[in-house]
Symmetry: D2
Subunit: 286 residues, 4 copies
């Protein structure tokens, strides 16, 4: 991680020669490819690729790569692409309510240096977890939300996020529906954890619903937030086996472990720039 790399995430209509063309562009200009993964959605006819290369010998100046790539290839091949540099630490805000298991898991990783990320602030609609912010030395902002003040409070939150140059939001069991203004400000950059294997048990109280239905597995799903509740692109899911011996409380307990791990896996993939979204689905590279 000492020397910077460039990461290109792209998709475009599938056609022969794209890999050869992009890899040659990198090679002939002195870039050493250290990662390449690609995927073709045959049904949709879409080509996806993630390629990462070392910049040390790359002859195009870092701040011009995007421009060059756009001019030379993107328009021609109708590519949608994003370019990232490894040296930049993305800035993440955590939203939380009253449950602490997810935020502790995120902050334990952060504080141990597992992730290449900055967490400049925590936002909550309740003061309950203020102590967590204090323990980890991260500013904790409380925005109590009521029906009456919701749009106002969200505007204040948005201002705070912008002021802190936040790149993406993580809803760590934030028990409050995010409205369109925030969602549209962070398209495919708000990661939520829902405590069921979506699309089963959307909405409130999924563990109660799971218990009621008598399922033998419970799940958790991390997804990007869209204006459709619990229906955004899924990044990661997992399940744990339960039995008739588990009552609702036991499901909630077992679910906590799932939720935090599934959320953290999704956040990690996002930080690593390994998630591409397309038509409400994700391509998640290894």
């Amino acid at each position: 991680m000492k020397q910077s790399t460039a990461i290109l995430l792209m998709h475009c209509p599938d056609q022969p020669g794209i890999i050869a063309m992009v890899t040659e562009f990198i090679n002939v200009n002195g870039g050493n490819i250290i990662y390449l993964d690609q995927h073709v959605d045959v049904d949709q006819g879409v080509f996806f690729m993630r390629v990462e290369w070392e910049l040390e010998q790359f002859i195009i100046p870092q701040d011009k790569i995007e421009d060059y790539f756009h001019t030379l290839y993107a328009t021609k091949y109708q590519m949608y692409f994003r370019l990232y540099f490894k040296e930049y630490k993305p800035r993440m805000a955590i939203f939380v309510s009253k449950m602490s298991h997810c935020i502790y898991d995120l902050l334990a990783r952060y504080t141990a240096g597992e992730w290449h990320v900055e967490i400049p602030l925590i936002i909550s609609n309740h003061p309950d977890l203020e102590n967590v912010g204090i323990r980890f030395g991260i500013p904790f902002h409380v925005f109590p939300v009521t029906k009456e003040n919701k749009s106002e409070q969200e505007a204040a939150e948005l201002a705070l996020l912008k002021e802190n140059r936040i790149d993406f939001l993580v809803l760590a069991r934030y028990m409050q529906v995010i409205t369109e203004d925030v969602i549209n400000s962070y398209p495919n950059r708000i990661i939520n954890i829902h405590h069921s294997f979506l699309p089963a048990f959307m909405g409130a109280k999924p563990y109660h619903a799971a218990f009621e239905r008598g399922v033998k597995l419970i799940g958790a799903t991390s997804h990007y937030v869209t204006t459709d509740l619990d229906a955004g692109p899924i990044i990661e899911q997992d399940i744990v086996r339960i039995s008739h011996k588990d009552n609702v409380e036991a499901l909630i307990g077992k679910g906590r472990d799932l939720e935090k791990i599934v959320l953290s896996r999704a956040v990690e993939k996002h930080i690593q720039r390994k998630v591409l979204t397309y038509k409400n689905k994700t391509v998640v590279f290894n």
Copy 2:
């Protein structure tokens, strides 16, 4: 398995002393308990138990145990119970359509002697898999079903099942909705395999729906058939991880392995008399 055992499955309103009372009844009459598992649903206030004992020294004649238990305890404690004898081989009918993976899995176990069961017949709405019946030497009956002849055909099927003293049915990817007459003749004794982690993706084409939604797991669910489509008591579920690289065909392929294993696990538990149903849920003992 050489000497017979009795298996008691029961549930009743929970109250102190039931275990002591039932186990004493068995002990004082010379039965040696070789298995006991019990469960209390605290919310519903229901007590469930499965107990199995050796009959060799049991002083109550085998054909009178049910009567004695009924008289002495069942009425008094409002018990619902079923009594089985290990020596009896339950008789199972397989229903199948065009896909062979589940039926092969069932018959491979059957023919290897893994299960204490008889399979006197296979019923299908298509002739495609007749060869499977021939290979394993099991009569294969074709009942082509159309809208017009459905009730007639089901009546003929029911007659055949009765004639063969069938105890329970296994729908091994039988692509035909079973109607009320059959369901009511075999309450909680028709085991279906649905190719999704229910309650997600009920109804037709779950793999297509799963692909469309972009889930990261696919599942399979075996359940008892009730008149509510895909909504009966769940016996067993499992999932397998998928990725963006898997198209619908790949999901179907990965799903086949799940379906057959999940169905066979449920059938095994049923044969072993380890499944109790209560209010559209199951208690599945180990």
Copy 3:
């Protein structure tokens, strides 16, 4: 949890009537059984049981139950038993070295009140994680261990543990072999996490060994520490799928999530008094 319950863990040579006898003892003396699970190891001829009952109406005084049970049954049936009371919070010490993922997971649960336990102190052979102790307000004691001072330092540790009335130890990636004195002071009460699916990859550097061998799964194992290194009774294990794309660093990263969850599950079972050990194996009740 407001009113106390008694928890009896026991094993004895198997014979008819034990369940009936123990449950009757509880019932006739006014105890209401709220949990019973039992297991017979047919090969060894050993009967295991965990039973929990409410003490509110129990006529035997709490401090005499052990004595009564011992006199009336334990000797007669050669029972080994332990009696616990729910109201008592077991006292746990965490041992840690330089890696923080396990201890954060333990303390996040502790601080959220998930567990009925006290954690009066943390012991480490390095000062690196002192900050974790400070954050959660738990005394952090550093005992640097060298070949020369090992027995001395362990004696000091033991003294500290005793002074704090510690009931059991959790080695949260404590990278130091515990010697016999400590092990014998806490028989089956030291829980370790080993970063492999034991018995594969015992000893040091299991992720390197796993990578070298080219396995497709990595695992973690929590077990009670015995004087046989990595060979004590296993409490819990789990695995995660890996692929050729994962280098040693990736294995270590994926392993961290496993380790902490597997360790915490084992600690939880221990706190709940649901683990019985017998001949280097465990019975872990649900």
Copy 4:
């Protein structure tokens, strides 16, 4: 599958430009790439790739591709490569002893047309499963093996395999050690299933050893056979959770499901030409 494709599996010392070079070779000669996956083992400095392209418009005649590729690139870049054509059905021999679960699973898939493979014969050291061959119409050859006749019998088996132009062998719970002559005739082309999560419990009776050790998971491992017993390159592994309630018989029962699925997954990957071996490890592409 109607029109043929070429599949290139290769590895070589890693260096910049290989992907670009190979994909350009295919593109400029009229091949349409429908699959590309690659992997760099950074520690070893080895580049691996699997690429598949449609031959319809490919201007190099099918029987000359290997030669061209060899001349133009392989020597220059020290590539080890294999070229396959989709239209060719690999020919597989099944070796079996007395247990039928794996062979039924293989043949059920074969007979359902799931796999692009021919199975011209079954070899066994016992006559017990002859009936399986008869049922599926596949010649079943019995070669009873004793200490005395082993090398003779293996020579006869080899002759039979050659006569039938067998490409690879599947040991479907074949309880007989294969000797060097056979192994060397089919390097990395003999797939075995071992009933443990290797490297744990190598050798005989792994379920007994697993029970003895008190593990909480049992596993199965499919691997290529080398002259080191149970130590060849691992293709696929999986596990299933067990508990203290499972005796050795139960482990064997649960293990059967694992074994057959894990073996079939490995066979499928092999048939699809998605497995590359390198220094006793595998790269298994999706």
